[in-house]
């Protein structure tokens, strides 16, 4: 199941501003030092001021001219031959993909990933090489001289190059993505003519648990699985997995067609729970799943009148009518009666304070104000059976969107990644030669995508939380010399204060530098359409857009200044 990372735009802007501020200060320090060493401080700052002023005097017409030039250059150098490679791959790709699986739902992810990965792998080197070599070659061949001796701001060259290469890349991507879409559709239809590709739109909930005696828990019980993604609730006890869904309204009910051909509104719950059986039980069916809908504000609880057996390793889609009619034995003074509840009216609270166990303090509870909220408790009435539940095992499925929606949003992810590569490549090319720019960018890509990225993220988190065992470089050296272990505290004193202050500055700089290394992980959106989901905007596409925007403006400034302060004819 797709794992989502929460994205907080406000926090992202704050971190960005802080990092840009730190790097600007560092840059100002370097410029000042260089100015002092050469004795040309005022001249340097004067030129810097003029250069920054030029950033606000860009001419769109000149930028466009440079972009068109870049486009022509790339096209006439036969960059679009990449299509030939693409066509060859697709001509023979189906040989290796068809026939391995017979189930359409397992084949579709293969097709989608094949198309998106092929496009990504073909486009990345094209973008990388074009961007890293374009400007340095322009400088080496001195064709740039005839440009910068016209009233062209150096930054216009940078923007023009970025736009031109982005244009080429966009054109190639659109053609390949459209062909790829047609190929997926045709391939799926060949296997199953009735198959309908869609993009599911899920609303995931927050998960917590209740133990078998009704006590709140962060986790269910462990049945011995090494993989701890799912934890288990015991059957026929008070144990429940409790999902809290927010933001549910009229849109939570989708139109579905019944067997009789009637169109009705249903709450669609899709699940992928796992069963752990301690005895065979009823061998004719899977372990039953019982939903209970709870209004967190009023405390009203309504059992789903239609428990269903799990089909493991499949998507379990459960349709719940908007109006639930249930038999309540205690109603009407104990005589029992059928009562009808409207999910939207009676079970979804406009606003409610929902209590969650605090993950950092087992006995504490934190209360969160939520809107349009409903809880769904998941349990099993089967005695001595266990139901395995993970965070993404249950979601409310909103009205499906077309497959093209998720597919082309994933393509947008590829586009954004290549735009970032082009931006970084052109910027690097403004101050180093082509081969160096290529190696630099490849390194950034590898660091920004792999485990090093995880290490950097961990570094930032650890530093921010102040739990850095052993301290920074100075403290580490002192501990090494004094044979101190990493957790023994120093005796307070001015030396220790100074040491920690120096380390804080160093580590802060390291964190800032780590933030400069782009995070390429948000661009991998292909997993969404591959698994049949639409790409969410806030937690899917927005982080990718934000990453590109975060680098676009600083790169433009750096590229402009690098070309402005660089002697293009330097020997």
């Amino acid at each position: 199941m797709t794992e989502l990372r929460e994205f907080d735009p406000a926090l992202a802007v704050l971190v960005w501003a802080a990092v840009v501020a730190v790097l600007t200060l560092l840059g100002a320090g370097v410029v000042t030092l260089a100015g002092l060493l050469t004795g040309k401080l005022s001249l340097t700052y004067g030129r810097l001021g003029t250069s920054i002023g030029e950033l606000f005097a860009f001419s769109p017409a000149r930028v466009w001219a440079l972009a068109v030039l870049t486009w022509r250059e790339a096209v006439r150098r036969r960059v679009l031959l990449v299509f030939v490679v693409f066509a060859v791959l697709f001509m023979f790709g189906s040989w290796f993909l068809n026939g391995v699986e017979t189930r359409t739902d397992l084949l579709v992810p293969r097709f989608v990933q094949f198309v998106l990965k092929t496009i990504g792998y073909l486009l990345f080197p094209v973008s990388l090489l074009l961007a890293c070599w374009g400007l340095p070659e322009d400088i080496r061949r001195r064709s740039l001289h005839t440009v910068v001796t016209k009233p062209v701001r150096r930054g216009e060259v940078v923007v023009g190059r970025i736009l031109g290469y982005a244009g080429v890349m966009t054109f190639a991507l659109l053609i390949m993505a459209t062909i790829g879409y047609g190929w997926i559709d045709r391939s799926v239809k060949q296997i199953d003519p009735d198959a309908r590709l869609v993009s599911r739109v899920p609303v995931f909930g927050d998960l917590r648990f209740r133990g078998s005696r009704g006590e709140p828990m962060n986790q269910g019980i462990n049945v011995g699985d090494i993989w701890t993604y799912r934890s288990y609730v015991t059957g026929q006890t008070q144990a429940r997995a409790i999902f809290t869904f927010e933001g549910l309204g009229e849109n939570a009910f989708s139109t579905v067609r019944t067997a009789e051909g009637e169109e009705v509104k249903r709450l669609i719950l899709e699940s992928s729970f796992e069963a752990f059986r301690t005895l065979k039980g009823d061998m004719t069916r899977g372990t039953l799943v019982q939903y209970t809908f709870v209004n967190p504000k009023t405390g009203l609880r309504v059992d789903d009148p239609d428990p269903f057996p799990i089909e493991e390793f499949q998507k379990n889609v459960h349709f719940v009518p908007r109006e639930l009619t249930v038999y309540e034995p205690d109603a009407d003074g104990g005589e029992g009666a059928y009562k009808t509840y409207d999910i939207l009216e009676d079970l979804i609270a406009d606003e409610a304070d929902v209590a969650f166990p605090d993950p950092f303090a087992p006995d504490a509870v934190k209360t969160v104000k939520m809107r349009n909220v409903m809880q769904i408790e998941v349990g099993t009435p089967d005695r001595s059976q266990y139901l395995g539940v993970g965070q993404a095992d249950l979601f409310v499925r909103l009205a499906d969107r077309s497959f093209a929606s998720g597919y082309f949003k994933a393509v947008a992810g590829i586009w954004l990644m290549n735009l970032l590569v082009i931006t970084l490549g052109v910027t690097a090319g403004s101050f180093v030669k082509g081969p160096v720019a290529t190696v630099l960018l490849l390194s950034l890509f590898l660091v920004g995508l792999g485990r090093t990225r995880e290490f950097l993220d961990e570094l930032v988190t650890t530093f921010a939380s102040g739990s850095w065992d052993g301290g920074g470089p100075v403290e580490s050296i002192v501990r090494l010399i004094q044979h101190m272990n990493p957790i023994t505290d120093f005796d307070p004193g001015p030396g220790v204060t100074l040491m920690k202050a120096v380390d804080s500055v160093f580590m802060g700089g390291l964190v800032a530098v780590s933030r400069v290394i782009p995070d390429f992980t948000p661009f991998a959106l292909g997993r969404f359409p591959a698994e049949g989901f639409d790409v969410p905007f806030v937690d899917g596409l927005l982080p990718a857009i934000a990453t590109v925007l975060a680098f676009l403006i600083p790169c433009l400034v750096v590229g402009h200044l690098a070309l402005r302060f660089r002697e293009l004819e330097a020997k």
Binding site: W64, L66, L69, R72, R77, S143, V148, T149, R153, K571
Partner: protein, 334 residues
């Protein structure tokens, strides 16, 4: 003339009349350029305390042998290099001020153009960089293609052009904005005699239209008849600055030019001249070439490092005087 150095033969800039200074479109003061390596160590002093002015409407020749610093000067003027010391003003603005580029044109040494474009696209592209409206771009493009005689190849990519054709499209792009000052680096390089004649005609036309042209070349004969003034650089220093007319005129000889004369008339003239000159008379063309001036400048600089010649001083005259004193051969080489 307006130069500023410590050399007594050069008039200091402060002494130059203000009215003359106002006519200058380019002012260079104590310009020094030292190339350094990656570690900041001095590699070569390409230019040493150069001071000179270029006046509005003149064709100014920047001459010198390879490595003399003329191309470095040009690139400093264009902002492609930054001076180690000294100051440059073009239209009163610094060399790195982009706004000055609206009024200048530049033909680089090798016509470093985009070889995948054709002539029309090239001129259209550079026209766009000046934000020229589409109609004006088309008009300028057609005019310039006709001017440089490339109408037959206007659709061909530049990579298929000969060197001469590339120079022609190079000069066309330099003129796309109808500039007030044109910098031409080796404009006749790679051109055939017809091309050279065309190039000279273009430069002459520019001068007639009141444009200022700075020509950088080592092909002295090519530009001596188009330059108003020249500066000769050697080893990064100004060695000579003056008007071509003054430099090429031989002051210690008199030339009489007339229609073809009968032998008796020549004999009579010779006898008259003999009364006033003990060295007799030579019936020949006494005019010397710029190349002679250039070579004599080099000789004089070697004999006396740091010596500079400005308006009124001619190394050939000094050379000739010295030769007369020691009785050696004709200094002009005749």
């Amino acid at each position: 003339m307006s130069t500023e150095t410590a050399d007594p033969v050069v008039a200091p800039a402060e002494d130059a009349p203000e009215t003359v200074a106002a006519e200058n479109v380019i002012e260079i003061r104590n310009l020094t350029k030292i190339y350094r390596d990656f570690w900041g160590r001095k590699k070569v002093r390409a230019l040493n305390s150069l001071s000179l002015d270029v006046r509005k409407g003149e064709v100014f020749g920047l001459l010198g042998p390879n490595g003399s610093g003329k191309t470095t000067t040009l690139k400093l003027l264009l902002g492609l290099l930054f001076p180690t010391d000294g100051e440059i003003r073009i239209f009163g603005k610094t060399a790195t001020d982009v706004s000055k580029n609206d009024r200048i044109g530049y033909l680089p040494e090798e016509s470093y153009l985009y070889r995948f474009l054709n002539a029309e696209e090239t001129l259209d592209f550079y026209g766009r960089l000046f934000n020229l409206p589409a109609r004006q771009r088309r008009k300028r493009r057609d005019e310039l293609i006709d001017l440089v005689k490339l109408s037959h190849a206007r659709k061909r990519p530049l990579k298929e052009y000969s060197k001469g054709m590339t120079r022609r499209i190079g000069i066309a792009q330099a003129l796309i904005n109808d500039p007030e000052v044109v910098f031409l680096d080796e404009p006749t390089s790679g051109l055939d005699p017809n091309g050279r004649a065309d190039m000279k005609a273009i430069i002459t036309d520019l001068k007639e239209r009141g444009k200022t042209v700075v020509v950088c070349s080592h092909l002295l004969a090519e530009i001596e008849d188009i330059c108003d003034r020249v500066a000769i650089l050697g080893n990064g220093e100004l060695q000579l600055l003056g008007s071509v007319e003054d430099l090429l005129r031989s002051k210690n000889q008199t030339q009489i030019t007339a229609e073809t004369l009968p032998p008796e008339a020549i004999s009579e003239i010779e006898s008259v001249v003999a009364r006033y000159s003990s060295n007799g008379v030579a019936v020949a063309n006494p005019r010397r070439t710029l190349e002679e001036v250039f070579l004599a400048t080099g000789r004089m600089s070697e004999a006396r490092p740091g010596r500079r010649f400005v308006d009124g001083d001619n190394p050939l005259d000094v050379d000739a005087a010295a030769a007369t004193e020691d009785g050696s051969a004709d200094p002009a080489g005749h």
